[in-house]
C-alpha cells in the first residue's frame, strides 16, 4: 500500500541491552526529571487570592444589559434563541404597561428569559444576533454548582446590576472590555473632532 505521508516512524523492537535490563538507570533518570520540576515555574495558581488573566475576547457567562437609565434592553425578539446552535435560550414576551416605562426600554419586554447553561457552548452567537445590545458574554465563567437545576439561569440571574442604584457592581459587571471599548470610542471621537 502506498504511504500517505513520508512521516512514518518505523518502530524498532530490538531486545533490551544489559543497561536497560538493570532498570535502575532508567528509574534514576525518571526521578531526575521529576526532581527537576521542583525548580520550574508552577502552572497552577492559588485561585481565590490569585486570578488568571482573561483575554479581552474571552466568552464567558451571558449578561442581560440595561441602558444608562437602568431599563432592560431586551425586547424578547427571539433572535438569540433562533441563533443559538445548542437551543439553550427560551423566553416569553409581554407588553409594557403604563407606569412601567422606567423598567423596560421598549413597548415589549422579556417577562421570562432563561438560558440553560448545561446546554450553552459559549459560542457568542446570541451576542452577535442581538439587535438591541441586550445580551453580552461577560468576562467571567459560570460558577460551579452542586445541582443541575442551578444551571437554569433565569432573568434575575442574568441581569446586569442597576447602573444608578448599584454603580460599583454595575462597573464591575461591565468588565475591562466595556471600559476599554468606551475609551476607544472616546478617543476616536476626539480624533474625528480634531480632524
Amino acid at each position: 500500500m502506498q504511504a500517505l505521508t513520508d512521516k512514518i516512524k518505523v518502530l524498532e523492537r530490538k531486545p533490551m541491552t544489559i543497561g536497560e535490563r538493570l532498570y535502575l538507570p532508567a528509574i534514576i533518570k525518571g526521578m531526575l526529571i521529576t526532581f527537576s520540576h521542583l525548580f520550574k515555574k508552577r502552572p497552577t495558581i492559588s485561585y481565590p487570592e490569585q486570578k488568571r488573566y482573561f483575554p479581552s475576547v474571552w466568552r464567558g457567562v451571558q449578561i442581560l444589559n440595561r441602558d444608562e437609565e437602568g431599563r432592560e434592553r431586551c425586547t424578547a425578539c427571539g433572535l438569540c434563541a433562533v441563533a443559538c446552535p445548542a437551543e439553550a435560550i427560551t423566553m416569553e414576551g409581554a407588553e409594557r404597561m403604563p407606569g412601567e416605562e422606567h423598567l423596560y426600554k421598549e413597548e415589549k419586554y422579556a417577562a421570562k428569559y432563561e438560558i440553560n447553561m448545561l446546554r450553552c457552548i459559549f459560542c457568542g452567537l446570541c451576542e452577535e444576533a442581538c439587535p438591541k445590545d441586550a445580551i453580552y458574554l461577560s468576562q467571567t465563567f459560570a460558577p460551579a454548582n452542586y445541582h443541575r437545576k442551578g444551571f437554569i439561569y433565569d432573568k434575575q440571574d442574568l441581569l446586569i446590576p442597576h447602573p444608578i442604584e448599584e454603580p460599583d457592581r454595575y462597573k464591575q459587571a461591565l468588565g475591562e472590555r466595556a471600559t476599554a471599548l468606551k475609551q476607544k470610542a472616546k478617543t476616536s471621537e476626539e480624533e474625528s473632532m480634531d480632524n
Binding site: 427571539g78 416569553e92 409581554a94 432563561e114 439587535p131
Partner: protein, 382 residues
C-alpha cells in the same frame, strides 16, 4: 371560439411564455415563476383595483409589442401593465430596474420605524424580505420619522400606523369583502394614514382579513400580540365546519396551544379563501379544529427553522442494553424551567407582567381600551 382567441407571446428575462390577452406582466412572470418574478407589495390577485401604488414591481419594457417594437420610455409597474404580443420585458437582467427597486425600497423604509424586534409580523413580513433582498444596508435619512399613536381598530385588530406603507390593500378588503367600510386613508402625502373615521371600531365578520393582506406589521392580530415569535410557532393546516366561511385556516401552534389562526397563503403570500372573525379570533382550542397536517414552509423561510421534516429518529438503545431499564433522568427541564408555564392561548390580548407573576388570565389592555369602561381592569372582552 377558443382557437380564435390568440395567445400573446411575451419574453420576460429571455424566457418566453404564452399568456391570455389581458394578463399583466406580473402575472405572466408568475406563470414562469422563479427569480424573475417582480416583488409586489400592494398588488393582490383577489382584490380588484389593487396595485400600482408601491412601485416595487417596476420593470423595463425593452420592446412594446411585435407591431410597435419601440421600448417604453420609463420603467413601468408590472402589476398594472398588460402584456402585448411580442413584448420583451427585462426584470433582473436590467441593472437599471434593480437600481430603481433599491431606490423604491429606500423610499418605503424612509418612515418605517424598523422595530422588527418588537413587531409580530417579523419573519413573515414582505417588507422585511424585500429590503433584505433589494435594499441597502443603511439609511441616508437624517430627519425624524413620522410618528403616529398606535390604536386599536376594534377589540381584535391593532394598528401601528408607523409601519404602514399605504398599499391600500386593507381598504380594498373592507370595500370588497365586508359589507361596509368604516376605515380608509385620511390626510394627504406624508401625513396620510389609515384610520377609522373618528376611530370607529371595525366590526364585520370578515374584517380580520385585513391582517392577512397587510404586507407589513401595520395591522396585527391582538389575540396573538407579543405571544410568540412567528418562527417558534408550528404552522399546521386545519379546517372546521364554519357557517360563515369555508373554515380552511393555518393554525400556528406552540405545543397544543393555538396561538394564532390565519387564512392559508399561497406561494406569493396571497390569500384566496377569506376566513371569518370567529375562525380567526375565537376558536383557540385544538379541539375546535380538524388538523390536516403540517403546512409546507419554504426552505428559505425563517419559519422553517427547527422544523425537521422527513427525518428518521435514531432508535433509543439504552433500555435494550440495560435489560429494559430506562435511562436515569438526572433532571427534567419542565420541572425547573419557568418558561412555557402559562397557557397564552387562553388570554384574548397580549400578556403583561401580571400574567406571569400573579394571574395567568390577566392580559394587557391598551390605552384605547381604557377609554371604554367595560374593558377596564383586565376583564374578558366578551
Amino acid at each position: 371560439m377558443s382557437d380564435e382567441k390568440k395567445l400573446f407571446k411575451v419574453t420576460i428575462d429571455n424566457i418566453t411564455v404564452e399568456v391570455q390577452p389581458g394578463t399583466t406582466i406580473l402575472n405572466a412572470a408568475r406563470q414562469i415563476g422563479g427569480d424573475i418574478v417582480p416583488p409586489a407589495m400592494c398588488y393582490y390577485t383577489s382584490l380588484k383595483g389593487s396595485g400600482g401604488k408601491c412601485r416595487t414591481c417596476l420593470v423595463k419594457v425593452a420592446a412594446g409589442s411585435a407591431a410597435d417594437p419601440r421600448p417604453m420610455p420609463k420603467l413601468v409597474a408590472s402589476c398594472r401593465t398588460n402584456v402585448m404580443d411580442g413584448m420583451v420585458v427585462e426584470n433582473i437582467t436590467n441593472p437599471s430596474v434593480l437600481e430603481a427597486r433599491k431606490g423604491v425600497v429606500e423610499l418605503l423604509l424612509i418612515n418605517h420605524p424598523l422595530d422588527c424586534p418588537i413587531c409580530d409580523q417579523a419573519g413573515e413580513c414582505h417588507l422585511q424580505d424585500l429590503s433584505y433582498e433589494h435594499g441597502v444596508e443603511s439609511t441616508r435619512y437624517e430627519f425624524n420619522r413620522r410618528t403616529f399613536d398606535k390604536h386599536d381598530l376594534g377589540p381584535y385588530i391593532q394598528l401601528h400606523m408607523t409601519r404602514c406603507i399605504l398599499c391600500y390593500r386593507c381598504v380594498y378588503v373592507a370595500d370588497q369583502i365586508s359589507n361596509k367600510r368604516v376605515h380608509g386613508v385620511l390626510d394627504r402625502g406624508d401625513h396620510s394614514e389609515i384610520a377609522t373615521y373618528i376611530k370607529q371600531s371595525l366590526d364585520n365578520d370578515f374584517i380580520g382579513n385585513v391582517i392577512d393582506v397587510c404586507p407589513v406589521g401595520a395591522l396585527t392580530d391582538r389575540t396573538f400580540r407579543f405571544k410568540n415569535r412567528v418562527w417558534f410557532t408550528k404552522p399546521v393546516d386545519a379546517h372546521r365546519d364554519c357557517p360563515t366561511c369555508k373554515g380552511k385556516v393555518t393554525l400556528w401552534l406552540r405545543g397544543d396551544e393555538v396561538l394564532r389562526s390565519t387564512a392559508r397563503k399561497d406561494q406569493w403570500g396571497e390569500v384566496s379563501e377569506w376566513i371569518c372573525n370567529t375562525c380567526r379570533f375565537e376558536k383557540k382550542k385544538t379541539s375546535d379544529w380538524i388538523i390536516e397536517g403540517p403546512t409546507v414552509v419554504n426552505r428559505q423561510s425563517v419559519i422553517g427553522q427547527g422544523h425537521y421534516v422527513n427525518i428518521t429518529k435514531p432508535r433509543e438503545t439504552i433500555s435494550d442494553v440495560m435489560g429494559g431499564r430506562p435511562p436515569k433522568l438526572l433532571m427534567d427541564i419542565h420541572n425547573v424551567s419557568g418558561v412555557n408555564n402559562v397557557d397564552l392561548s387562553e388570554i384574548p390580548g397580549p400578556a403583561s407582567g401580571k400574567t406571569f407573576e400573579e394571574d395567568p388570565h390577566a392580559f394587557a389592555t391598551n390605552p384605547t381600551d381604557r377609554k371604554k369602561p367595560e374593558l377596564n381592569s383586565n376583564h374578558e372582552l366578551e
